[in-house]
């Protein structure tokens, strides 16, 4: 039987990678109004950080609380940053990552 935590944390990684894609695209697309600015670079780093924390949480035996905390913080800040950049793609993916990460952490390791 599939464990729910890896499923949710995998969803977190996928959402964060989608957000990373949106950030990179926003940086290069003039119609976003935020092209060539620091904002999308920061959200790209935020999304990369979320994905990394989720993966490390799954694979590392030690320091899991720290990865969980960092992941949640990165997701929260990236959501706010996406909102202030007025980019729904970045914001929504960060919120999904935040939600799935939170649920995954709350569910525990067992089925």
């Amino acid at each position: 039987m599939t464990h729910p935590r890896p499923v949710f944390l995998s969803a977190t990684v996928v959402a964060a990678l989608v957000g990373l894609g949106f950030s990179v695209w926003s940086y290069g697309a003039p119609m976003t109004g935020i092209d060539d600015t620091a904002g999308p670079i920061l959200t790209a780093l935020g999304h990369a950080g979320i994905a990394l924390c989720a993966v490390l949480f799954l694979v590392m035996a030690r320091g899991r609380a720290a990865w969980a905390g960092l992941g949640l913080l990165a997701a929260l800040l990236t959501s706010v940053a996406g909102f202030m950049l007025m980019q729904p793609g970045i914001t929504l993916s960060a919120l999904v990552a935040l939600g799935t990460l939170l649920i995954g952490l709350l569910l525990g390791d067992t089925a």
Partner: protein, 627 residues
């Protein structure tokens, strides 16, 4: 071509007004109403507005290479079924309004040097047609250059008009017989009143005391021959001062035969010890007979201007219903945030003025005027009695530096003179209302205008001390040499170390006035500050350069904001209905016209370093998609 489509029964305007599909002048029409009767785009459907096309001129520079930076503030002209505009590399481009494809272009081959400005600047072109005539140069397009030449080309082909001046090129600088400190830069297109081109010019009035004295020329549109000259600086003080020139757009009433001229301040901008005599035409709105150049009337808006409060926008001509009578009026917006409403036949105030006592100067040698004229109505866009005060957030970020600096500077209300200790100036040279002016809807009698709420620091620096400071005397912000004065000058926005404004938001507003009642109908923060890509709250607004256009559909179109967005607002409420991102701040008024039965809204996204260091070469046309 202007067509009389209908006589509009205006609620506020008793006189019939021309309806038009075209946009034949910089501000749409000679009245500078910035009003398009087109009504296809409404508050209900403006959300569906789409890009019809976009065009890039290629004429841009951010100043990092060999060329100076560009500031492109053109409003396109739509006439002769063609869209015409100038570029900051001093080219004329003619486009098909439906597709954005190029019909022709003309290169003036002018030197690309920022001779009188910190940047290569252009505000577009002018259009004239010889009514009833056909053939080459029966319709002409005019482009001015930084080097003071006016180029006239055939509107159909872009070929120079040989019958105009010297093979299509008029050297306006030859009429500058007083001094040649710099060329009379023609950055604003001429105002075309019937067969006369009314030409003003720009210079660098911040740089030196003795400067070319302000002049406006009336020129034959066909031949380029000078008809008349108006001069704004008295002969006897020309060795000590200059400018009071006209660098912005003008308006005209052909029925009265008057052109209305917004005159700027004398040189140097911030020191008047060299020119303590009255210069009654400086910083004024002046009406001139368009056939003879004789002054019909003049109203000085600032006495002994030492703040750079240039009258900076074409007055808007309006007909107001007052106590059952139609009053032919004009509205003059100002950097100070004051609106002056005058009878445009006589120059008499429609609403009373008061001469109020203002603070004296404490700078040695300066004699600030003891009083200044304040209109009793309509209410100003910016409070003349109090600056917005220190913003707690900026103060916190600066560890109290904003408060300490504010306490160390002088502020006694509007018209506090520049001082050695530093003066908080609000509104300052950045405005208040800027050169885009306001727009007037003759159907509703409402007048719409954007205003900046920018606090600036003015500081006189004794000459010896100034010499020790490395400054860029050509900059519009920062250090100004004021050669010939006992002081140099420092002017900067009152920001903290992080670039945050030290004063409370909002930083810019949009206001609707009922002019007949002389009251505000609504006022809202306008635009959004953007830093590092992040948008700040809408309630903060932004400083603006450029202005609005109102339409018969009840929609206001405006760029102007620092966030490089163009917007549509509900004219009734000020609610933001639509926006789009463009390449750089759109620092001019848009053009709105009907071509082949479809309403177009065209913005130029050229940028202006005063707002943010972002340049553009983009022109974007919007229209509704097919049903």
């Amino acid at each position: 071509m202007i067509r009389l489509i209908a006589t509009l029964a205006a609620t506020a305007a008793a006189l019939p007004v021309l309806a038009q599909d075209d946009w034949t002048a910089f501000h749409g029409d000679l009245a500078a109403r910035k009003y398009a009767p087109a009504d296809q785009i409404t508050p209900e459907n403006v959300g569906r507005l789409q890009r019809a096309w976009e065009y890039h001129t290629g004429d841009l520079s951010d100043g990092s290479g060999d060329l100076p930076p560009t500031v492109w503030s053109a409003t396109p002209v739509y006439a002769n079924d063609t869209l015409y505009f100038g570029t900051p590399f001093y080219r004329i481009i003619a486009l098909d309004p439906a597709t954005g494809s190029e019909k022709w272009s003309y290169d003036s081959q002018t030197r690309l040097e920022a001779l009188t400005q910190p940047a290569l600047k252009n505000r577009g072109v002018a259009y004239w047609e010889d009514e009833g005539a056909e053939g080459a140069c029966a319709r002409m397009v005019y482009l001015g250059t930084m080097t003071a030449t006016l180029h006239a080309v055939d509107a159909d082909t872009g070929e120079p008009c040989a019958g105009f001046a010297d093979n299509g090129i008029l050297d306006v600088n030859r009429w500058n017989t007083t001094n040649d400190r710099w060329p009379l830069s023609l950055l604003q297109p001429p105002t075309v009143v019937e067969d006369t081109l009314v030409i003003g010019w720009a210079g660098k009035d911040w740089a030196m005391s003795e400067a070319p004295p302000g002049t406006v020329f009336g020129v034959d549109a066909r031949t380029g021959e000078r008809k008349w000259t108006v001069e704004f600086i008295p002969d006897e003080i020309r060795p000590r001062t200059g400018t009071a020139n006209v660098w912005t757009a003008m308006s005209a009433d052909p029925e009265l035969g008057l052109v209305y001229i917004p005159v700027s301040s004398p040189s140097p901008n911030f020191w008047g010890g060299n020119r303590t005599e009255d210069i009654p035409l400086a910083t004024s709105v002046t009406a001139v007979d368009v056939e003879t150049g004789e002054i019909a009337w003049s109203r000085q808006l600032v006495h002994h201007d030492i703040w750079d409060y240039d009258t900076n926008a074409a007055p808007t001509l309006v007909d107001l219903d007052r106590d059952g009578e139609t009053v032919h009026a004009l509205v003059q917006t100002t950097k100070q945030g004051l609106l002056y409403v005058l009878d445009r036949e006589t120059g008499e105030p429609i609403f009373d003025w008061e001469d109020r006592e203002v603070p004296a100067s404490d700078a040695e040698g300066e004699q600030a005027a003891p009083t200044q004229p304040f209109p009793t109505a309509p209410p100003p866009t910016n409070d003349p009695e109090a600056w917005p005060g220190v913003w707690w957030l900026a103060d916190l970020v600066s560890f109290g530096s904003c408060s300490r600096r504010a306490e160390a500077m002088r502020y006694d209300g509007l018209y506090t003179p520049p001082s050695v200790e530093g003066t908080i100036t609000y509104p300052a040279t950045a405005g208040g209302m800027q050169w885009g002016g306001g727009s007037f809807d003759p159907e509703t009698g409402l007048y719409y205008v954007n205003a900046s709420r920018v606090v600036q620091e003015y500081r006189l620096i004794p000459r010896e001390e100034y010499e020790d400071i490395t400054g860029d005397s050509g900059a519009e912000q920062g250090y100004s040499e004021m050669e010939g004065a006992p002081y140099g000058f420092y002017l900067m926005n009152f920001n903290n170390w992080a670039g945050m404004p030290c004063w409370k938001p909002p930083f810019g507003t949009m206001t609707a006035y009922d002019l007949a009642a002389a009251e505000k109908v609504w006022e809202k923060p306008f635009g959004q500050i953007q830093r590092y890509g992040f948008y700040m709250p809408k309630s903060w607004g932004t400083p603006t350069i450029g202005g609005p256009v109102t339409t018969g559909g009840g929609v206001i179109f405006i760029g102007a904001s620092i966030d490089a967005r163009v917007r549509a607002l509900d004219a009734g409420t000020g609610e933001e209905l639509w926006w789009d991102n463009v390449m750089a701040p759109s620092v001019s008024n848009p053009a709105v016209f009907v071509h082949e039965g479809e309403q177009y809204v065209v913005f130029v996204a050229g940028g202006n370093s005063i707002l943010k260091p972002e340049v553009g070469d983009q022109i974007v046309a919007y229209k509704l998609p097919p049903e």
